[in-house]
């Protein structure tokens, strides 16, 4: 009965705001201070966390409203530096427990197969979970994008 969802080759999400990919945060970055990151969620997960629908704004027009809050397509989260994929997802699941199991396997914490992570026009899906987030994400100038892999015909 299952409708199999093919897993196409991931590509950068259309509509991402332009911005240079500055690579991982430098190792010498100050540690253990609070940073604020923006996270963009796919439509189904926005519904689950009851974010305002972005239908009339279109992708790329969500706004961050402050630490630990969210409107439109994005939420903002406070992380301890250095921010990593894991710490970002931990913070996201802490704020929205309904998302536990929807992005990562709850037991192994491995990314679900048809979930992709993009930022700064790069596919970060296959980066190690403990790798540092790109500097523009840590600076709050670029969102960390969580989305479902494209499927369909």
């Amino acid at each position: 009965m299952t409708e199999e969802a093919p897993a196409p080759e991931p590509r950068p999400a259309p509509g991402l705001p332009p911005g240079p990919f500055a690579g991982p945060a430098p190792a010498a970055a100050p540690r253990q201070h609070l940073i604020v990151v923006r996270v963009r969620l796919p439509a189904h997960l926005r519904t689950l966390v009851q974010l305002e629908k972005e239908t009339e704004r279109g992708p790329g027009h969500g706004t961050a409203s402050g630490p630990g809050h969210g409107t439109g397509s994005e939420v903002t989260l406070e992380l301890d530096s250095p921010g990593t994929q894991s710490s970002l997802l931990d913070a996201l699941e802490t704020r929205y427990p309904v998302l536990i199991g929807t992005i990562r396997d709850p037991r192994t914490r491995v990314r679900r197969p048809f979930i992709r992570f993009f930022a700064c026009e790069e596919d970060l899906s296959h980066e190690p979970p403990d790798s540092d987030l790109p500097a523009p994400v840590l600076a709050g100038t670029e969102p960390f994008v969580i989305l479902g892999a494209m499927a369909g015909g």
């Binding site: 009965m1 299952t2 409708e3 199999e4 969802a5 796919p42 439509a43 189904h44 997960l45 689950l48 309904v98 536990i100 199991g101 929807t102 992005i103 709850p106 037991r107 679900r112 048809f114 979930i115 479902g148 892999a149 499927a151």
Partner: protein, 371 residues
């Protein structure tokens, strides 16, 4: 005056259909959880306002939703289904050992006595129970740990525990059905289980009359006759009069004894309904004619019910959980199709009319008769 609430799970959301006892004019509400596969929506028989829904998709996994107000509002509850202990392996399609992996909840069966207790049948086949209204789930692990567990193999739809029948007289007795392992019964509230498949014969397995390995599609019981069960198997319609200890075939004069769903009239325990499907390689009705078949004799002798159903060019399927009955008199019968139609009969199947025609493919139908 009673009202009817039909709970419909589809490939792209849930729908709730309401009517008064005349069952002529329907209000369609939904989609709820739009875009998600809703394998099953079911209601507590103790508290009719308490509903549970299984919500999943290939991207974001499994959620369980609960409503405490009859489906007006919903809240996500627990979605963690951890297998007890070290899960071990079952057989994969190629016969190799394959780790037990949770995929989705196929069926939700609320307790007959406690609105906060609900069972979940999942893929890979296991039975879970929640005693806190779905907040947390614990495996009823004696089933999967049966000696035969490591030999269970998936059917084409996955290795799913799709049917849970609770005995209304003996609260310790539970039946489950697994594709493709068969029927299992517990007489001690789930602690221990035994396969109850004697009399089943499946040509598609090496030993056709093996103790396990049968692709049972659904079983149904009338609450007044808990020793009697009816089964739609992959092929063959079967019945048991001794709690599954022995089964006999009652396919009789059906045009095809392949099918998925089976149900029992609310007031006549020997009146049963099936929807014959042409074959396991052609999942549509014989001759392009959608017909429900009714037996008033507990099987063997069947009559076609086609008034109001499409009798040409119809190539939909009716899945295992997609038929239900209400408890009005005359009894109402309901079923949904993979073509998105939900049909209702307010006269025990004599005639039919669509409630709605263009839903996504229907996966499940349940009915509440509300005072």
């Amino acid at each position: 005056m009673s009202t009817i609430r039909v709970l419909v799970g589809t490939r792209k959301g849930a729908f709730i259909l309401n009517a008064d006892a005349s069952r002529k004019s329907w209000e369609v509400n939904g989609p709820f959880f739009g875009g998600w596969e809703i394998y099953h929506v079911n209601a507590s028989p103790v508290d009719p306002s308490r509903l549970y829904a299984s919500q999943s998709n290939g991207w974001f996994g499994q959620l369980v939703q609960r409503s405490d107000d009859g489906g007006t509002t919903w809240q996500p509850v627990g979605n963690q289904f951890p297998y007890a202990g070290v899960p071990g392996t079952h057989q994969w399609y190629d016969g190799t050992p394959h780790p037990w992996e949770f995929a989705r909840v196929w069926h939700l069966e609320p307790s007959l006595s406690d609105p906060d207790t609900v069972y979940a049948g999942v893929e890979d086949a296991a039975l879970f129970r929640s005693s806190d209204a779905g907040t947390t789930w614990e495996e009823v692990s004696g089933l999967r740990r049966h000696d035969s567990g490591s030999s269970w193999q998936p059917g084409a739809g996955g290795m799913c525990l799709h049917t849970i029948v609770l005995d209304p007289v003996d609260p310790e007795r539970i039946y489950t059905a697994i594709s493709a392992a068969g029927v299992f019964r517990s007489d001690d509230a789930g602690t221990t289980w035994k396969p109850v498949n004697r009399g089943l014969s499946s040509e598609s397995i090496p030993a056709p009359e093996a103790e396990v390995g049968h692709c049972v599609h659904r079983i149904a019981m009338h609450p007044s006759r808990p020793d009697v069960l009816f089964m739609q198997k992959h092929w063959d319609v079967m019945r048991t009069d001794d709690c599954g200890e022995s089964w006999r075939e009652v396919s009789g004069d059906l045009p095809s004894d392949f099918g998925f769903t089976i149900d029992v009239h609310a007031h006549e325990p020997e009146t049963i309904y099936v929807v014959p499907i042409k074959s396991d390689s052609e999942h549509y009705p014989p001759d392009g004619r959608l017909r429900v078949y009714r037996s008033r004799t507990g099987g063997d002798e069947w009559e076609a019910l086609s008034d109001g159903l499409p009798q040409r060019d119809c190539y939909v399927n009716v899945l295992r959980d997609a038929m239900a009955v209400d408890s009005l008199d005359p009894c109402g019968i309901y079923f949904g199709t993979t073509g998105g139609q939900v049909y209702a009969s307010a006269n025990a199947g004599d005639s039919w009319a669509p409630i709605v025609r263009d839903l996504p493919a229907v996966l499940s139908v349940e009915v509440q008769t509300l005072p």
